[in-house]
Each structure stands twice: as structure tokens, then as C-alpha cells.
């Protein structure tokens, strides 16, 4: 049964950097680490989600985070999610819900039913947690509902929910007018998390250690920002395909020396490649931005397909979960919890000031415009994953808004009267449609046909472009 539902082993994606190639063993090791911890019982394991700015708190308390989105992604990348999705469906859950959550729920239900890991569980499986830390922040609803559903099979495992809001963008109002209120609320939430962890672990928080880890994270943020900005070089030394690997230390290993060292090495590698003029593709013809959407984890070789057409991806909005701290102008504080809260607010409001200055712009659109210019982008590619509602809705809107306010390509057109006219047109864009881990929504032939047509469009726009 288990074997019958497994897809053929996916082709391995070719990486441009040594750093990206080293990620597989790294992920495998931290999955193995959680399984060891479960077996030994010395360290508490917490199911949790990325982008919560709570890594320092967990690590300072010696709690081992188990990133459930990551495990679902692994199942997808190994093309072994279908049997867990079907398990969830058999519980009455719709396939149109978040497939990360469905995969995780299906896996947990199976593990709890068996009292051991499901057969041939990917990389040994997802360990049973001691507690679950969900987040009711604005990002998406499964981040609070997922673990509630899991509690049906693990009623003894408590949940702590942290709420991490940020002020919405308002064109006529400086967000700083209200962010003090948000800050007080977030600090309260994070202190609540500390209290919950102290209760669960029986240990007191070591605030000196927390301060050190916050400092390490700040330094890692700045280092990642500097490293990723190197990708603006022509030719681009590392593309989005590789960034879908390097997101691992960025999203899952923050507040560790390993993550810092990883990006130190990556930075060095990129500097070497730039000095040698080495690009992600041999003859770079087009520079594309991955403008949003989680990737299809089972089809990362599509990035290689883009590469085979001379297209490189110097930048992506997905998983770029850091911003330069020195540009945020955050209030000073010696309290590490307060600092985390300010950093959270600084990150989510990073593009607000710039967006206010451009008529009709919005923070997400402003980020696209800035990066189109900074990374010399020829076109935008997005991925509408049907089961990810949060990304899905915003992507279409972002593209529409971008096309409305930003037309950077000068071209000549011949009008009906035969006269040649110089006009400006929007950046071409491509929306790929599939899912994050549900392979039944994916067609390689159709996807690549779309990519071919998009490359032809880029070619014709270049031919028409006013020199």
C-alpha cells in the first residue's frame, strides 16, 4: 500500500553553488536530530512554524523546534506526500485545504494510530512533539488550525498560540504612530511563550544566553542580506533554485552558529564566483524574479529548465525573510524580548515608507519595483499554489498593481495610421499553476510549454525594445 502510492523518485536538481548542494544532508541531520531527541527524551521537542521570530527563545530554553512545514515539504520533494494527503482526506478533510497541513495531519494520524512511524516514513519520519507552538499571526489560518486538528490524535500534547500582528499599510498614516501599541502586545505574547516553555521544560529562561542568541540572529540577518545582494551581479552567481535550498538555514536554523557559518561560506563562494565571472547559467540571457508563491517542491528541476533557456533568477520574494537591520531605525533596547518584537515590526513594515512615496504603490509592489531595478530584472515568474490561499490571492493583485504603476520597457509600436510611436510597457510576467506538495495538480509538459512561451515572449520584447 505504502509503496504503491509513492511516486517515481524525482530527478535531482542541479545546483549552482556548493553551499546549496550541502543542504540535503543538513536537513536530513536535523530530522534525525529530532528523532534522536525523542528516543533519548532529554530535550523537549516543539512542533512549530517558520517566520515567528521565536527561534532565539526556543534555543535559549534548549527546546528543539520541529518545523512541520519543513517535514511536509520534504515529503513533497521526495514525491511521497500523496499517501499522507489521502490519509487526511479519509478523515474528511478537503484536498483544497493547505496541503502542508493535510500532509502533516495525515502523517500524525497514521503515526498515532500505529504507535510508531508509518512504513518507510521520509527520512525516518516526524517525531512526536512534547508541545506545539502555533501562531495566529496574519500570515495564514492553518498556522493556528493545523495543530488544533492534530490534537484530535494527540490530546495530551498542549498547544501554545502566539499572536504576532503588525500594523497594516496606510497611505496617509505613518505606521510608527501605532506601532508602540503593537510592540507592547507582541512583547506580552513572547513573554507568555517564555512562561509556557518554563512550565513545560521546568527550567528558567537564561536571559544572558537569550541576549547572545538575539545578537547572533541579528548578525546572521545582516550577513544574509549582504550575501543575497551579491546575486545582483551579472551574470548572477546563484539563482532561486539554489535559494530554495539555502532557505533551510535561513528559516529553520536561525539563532545557531551553523546558520551564521553557512552564510559566511556562501558569501565567500559567491564572491569567488563573481570574481571569476561565473554565472548560474553559462550564457545568461534573461534575469527573472521569482515574484512570489511557494515552490512546487516536487518540481524544483523546473528551475534547471529555465536555466537551460538562458534564464537566471537573481532574486525571489519567497523566503527572503530578512531585511537589513541598520535600515530599520528600530528603537534601542537592552531587553532581548523587546528587541525581537521591534525586529518583527521592522521587518513587516520595511517597505512602508518607500511605498508611501510612490503614487498607488503598496509595500509588496514597492519591493518588486525596487528589486526589478536593483537586480536588473527582465520578467517576473510567480507560482499560484492552489492550496496556499494566502499567497494565491495577493499574487494576482500584486501583478495587476505593478503593471498599472510601473512600465519600464520602452518599445516602438506602429499604429494603425502606420506611424511609429515610442511607448512604455509593463514587465512581462508568468504565473505557474500547481501546488506546494500535491503532485496531482502538476503537469510537467504543460508547465514547460508555458515556460517556453514565456521565454519566447521575453525574446520578442527584447527584439522590440528601444535601444
Amino acid at each position: 500500500m505504502a509503496e504503491a502510492l509513492k511516486e517515481a523518485k524525482p530527478k535531482k536538481r542541479a545546483t549552482a553553488t556548493r553551499a546549496a548542494a550541502s543542504i540535503g544532508p543538513m536537513v536530513k541531520e536535523f530530522i534525525a536530530g529530532t528523532l534522536r531527541a525523542r528516543a533519548e527524551g532529554k530535550q523537549k521537542i516543539a512542533y512549530t512554524f517558520i517566520v515567528c521570530h521565536h527561534e532565539e527563545i526556543l534555543r535559549a530554553m534548549d527546546v528543539l523546534p520541529l518545523w512541520t512545514e519543513n517535514f511536509a515539504g520534504i515529503c513533497g520533494a521526495k514525491r511521497d506526500a500523496e499517501r499522507f494527503l489521502q490519509r487526511a482526506e479519509s478523515l474528511g478533510l478537503s484536498r483544497s485545504l493547505c496541503t502542508y497541513a493535510l500532509c502533516g495531519i495525515g502523517f500524525d494520524q497514521w503515526r498515532e494510530e500505529l504507535g510508531q512511524m508509518p512504513p518507510d516514513a521520509p527520512w525516518g519520519g516526524q517525531a512526536r512533539p512534547d508541545f506545539m507552538i502555533s501562531t495566529g499571526q496574519i500570515l495564514c489560518d492553518p498556522r493556528s488550525k493545523w495543530y488544533q486538528a492534530c490534537q484530535q490524535f494527540m490530546p495530551d500534547v498542549p498547544i501554545y498560540n502566539i499572536d504576532l500582528p503588525y500594523p497594516m499599510f496606510e497611505r496617509d498614516r505613518d505606521h510608527r504612530e501605532v506601532w508602540g501599541y503593537y510592540h507592547r502586545y507582541i512583547v506580552q505574547q513572547l513573554r507568555g511563550l517564555v512562561a509556557f516553555l518554563e512550565e513545560q521544560t521546568g527550567k528558567k529562561m537564561d536571559y544572558d544566553r537569550l541576549r547572545e542568541l538575539v545578537d547572533l540572529t541579528d548578525r546572521t540577518w545582516n550577513l544574509i542580506d549582504e550575501t543575497y545582494k551579491l546575486r545582483a551581479a551579472v551574470p548572477c552567481p546563484m539563482g532561486t533554485g539554489d535559494a530554495m535550498n539555502t532557505m533551510v538555514p535561513l528559516c529553520f536554523m536561525m539563532a545557531t552558529q551553523t546558520a551564521y557559518d553557512f552564510f559566511l561560506n556562501l558569501k565567500k563562494e559567491l564572491e569567488e564566483k563573481i570574481a571569476k565571472g561565473e554565472g548560474e547559467v553559462e550564457q545568461e540571457k534573461y534575469r527573472l524574479m521569482w515574484g512570489g508563491g511557494l515552490p512546487s517542491w516536487y518540481a524544483l528541476t523546473d528551475f534547471n529548465y529555465f536555466n537551460s533557456k538562458g534564464a537566471s533568477f537573481p532574486v525571489e520574494t519567497t523566503y527572503r525573510m530578512v531585511a537589513p537591520l541598520h535600515e530599520m531605525d528600530l528603537p534601542e533596547t537592552n531587553d532581548p524580548i523587546e528587541h525581537i518584537a521591534w525586529r518583527w515590526l521592522g521587518y513587516w513594515t520595511f517597505w512602508y515608507d518607500k511605498a508611501r512615496k510612490r503614487p498607488d504603490s503598496e509595500p509588496d509592489v514597492e519591493r518588486l519595483i525596487n528589486w526589478i531595478e536593483e537586480y536588473k530584472i527582465d520578467g517576473i515568474v510567480m507560482h499560484e499554489a492552489f492550496s496556499c490561499r494566502t499567497w494565491h490571492v495577493g499574487l494576482i493583485w500584486q501583478l495587476r498593481q505593478l503593471a498599472k504603476i510601473y512600465k519600464p520597457i520602452p518599445i516602438y509600436v506602429t499604429g494603425r495610421d502606420g506611424k511609429r510611436e515610442r511607448i512604455y510597457r509593463e514587465l512581462p510576467s508568468l504565473i505557474l499553476e500547481s501546488d506546494i506538495i500535491d503532485i496531482t495538480s502538476y503537469s510537467e509538459v504543460e508547465t514547460r510549454n508555458k515556460i517556453d512561451a514565456f521565454i519566447e515572449t521575453l525574446e520578442s520584447i527584447r527584439a522590440n525594445r528601444v535601444t
Binding site: S443, N449, K450, T457, S460, N464
Partner: protein
Amino acid sequence: MSYFAGIDIGSTMTKVVILEDGILASVIGPTGPEQRRLANQVMEEALRRSRLPFQAITYVVATGYGRINVPFADKQLTEITCHAKAVSSLFPKAKILIDIGGQDVKAIRIDPTGKVVDFVMNDKCAAGSGRFIEVICDSLGLTLDQASEISLRSEHPVALSSICTIWAQQEVASRLAEGAAVADLLAGVHRSLAERISTMVRRLKVEEEIVVTGGGGKNRGLLKALSEQLGYEVHVPEEPLITGALGAALLGREIAKEAERTKTSLSTRERVLEEIEIL
């Protein structure tokens, strides 16, 4: 005199156009599992009709899903680029083209020179493609042409709630059992498909002129429903099925002209239609 060939291997039909100043010959045949063999066959037939030896063809461009299965093609281009080229040549004022194929539907925005500005495709579900109508016609025992004409007689199209092809088939059966007129049912089917297609087209902003190509362009009932949905008249080439092949041949001519202008050699394949064993 120079001749150019375009071959379009679609999901259900294979089309070839041989171009001189205008269309010298065109052939349409059903696509089967052996696309390479079929490509040779239709090309042979087109050459026979145009009374040309294969060596007389200056450049061959292949398009469509099976474009990589054309052993004698000098270049492969997507059907999106090819349809845009042909439509712009046939309808110089066209801004939006809708290619309704057997397997998918594409909406393409083009500029006055026939270049693609933007496109969207429905490729996930048969509900938005010609296959939707084929399935319904099969269940009613009608040909596509018959269904098209009968639907035009409808005065009260039946509203179908299902967009899934299989469920719609069931819904049609149950409406028939309730006594609905076949013409009203078929008009409802066309309306349902037209709604799906126009939803997709609106993502590109609807503007005149709108041209419909592909097999869907031969269905007058569908065109009527589409025109009502979009709020504009829709135009159709004389033979909508060969639009992709025509565009391929036109682009082949452009490539050859550009090579001549820049005095670069034109890279072509050997003009041989080899025998391919049947599986």
C-alpha cells in the same frame, strides 16, 4: 521562389501549411500516438498537394504540443507565438486572441506587430476546453457540427451548475430526463464553456478586436455564447484550425528573411521524410 512550411501537432489534430506568398496547401489530420510518423505523413500530403519536392521548402517551423516530435523541423516555437503571428497577419487590428483547442484554451494579448504581450492558459481541467463539448456530444450521440447548429435554435438555454466535465455529463442526462430540450441543453453547455473561457480572458483585459482560433472557432453556438459573455463580436479566420501552422510558416519566413538581411547562414535540417516503423 521560396516556400515555407509550418506544422502544428496539437492534442487532437495535426495541421500543416505550406506558404508561398499566400497559402499554397494545407492539410489537417487527427493526432494519434505516433506523432513522428504522423508528422511525416501530413507533410508528405501537403507536399503532394502543393506539387513541391521537400527540398523546395526553405524553412520548416514546428509548433503545438508535439513540436519536439517533428524530426524534420528547423525550429520549434510554442503555439502561443505562432497563433499570435498568424492572427496579426489575418486581423491587423486584433488585440486578444483565444485559441480553443481540444485539450486546453489559451488567451493571448498581442501587439500590432503580432508579438505576444501576455498570455494565460487553462491547462488543468477539461472543463475549459473543446473536450468538454466533445464529451457532451458523445453522450447525446451528436457530431460537433450538429451540436453547434442545434444549439443556435435554443430560446431558453439551460443553466448548468457543474463545471466538471464528468458531472456536467451527468447533469445533462438528468436534465434530459426532466424533459429539457436538446437545443436548450446544448446552448447551456456552450454558455458554461464560454463563461469559463471569458473568466480567463478577463485576466488579460477584454478589448476589441477579439479573434478565436482552433477547433472552437468552428462551433457557431460556442462563438455566439462567447460573444455574449465578452460583450464584443468575435472574429474567426476562414480555417481556424490551421492558424498555428500558418503562424509557424510565417515565422519561418521571417527567420529566413532576417538571415538574408544579416547575411547569416540559415541552419536547416536535411529535407528527408524518413520511414518510421509502426510500434
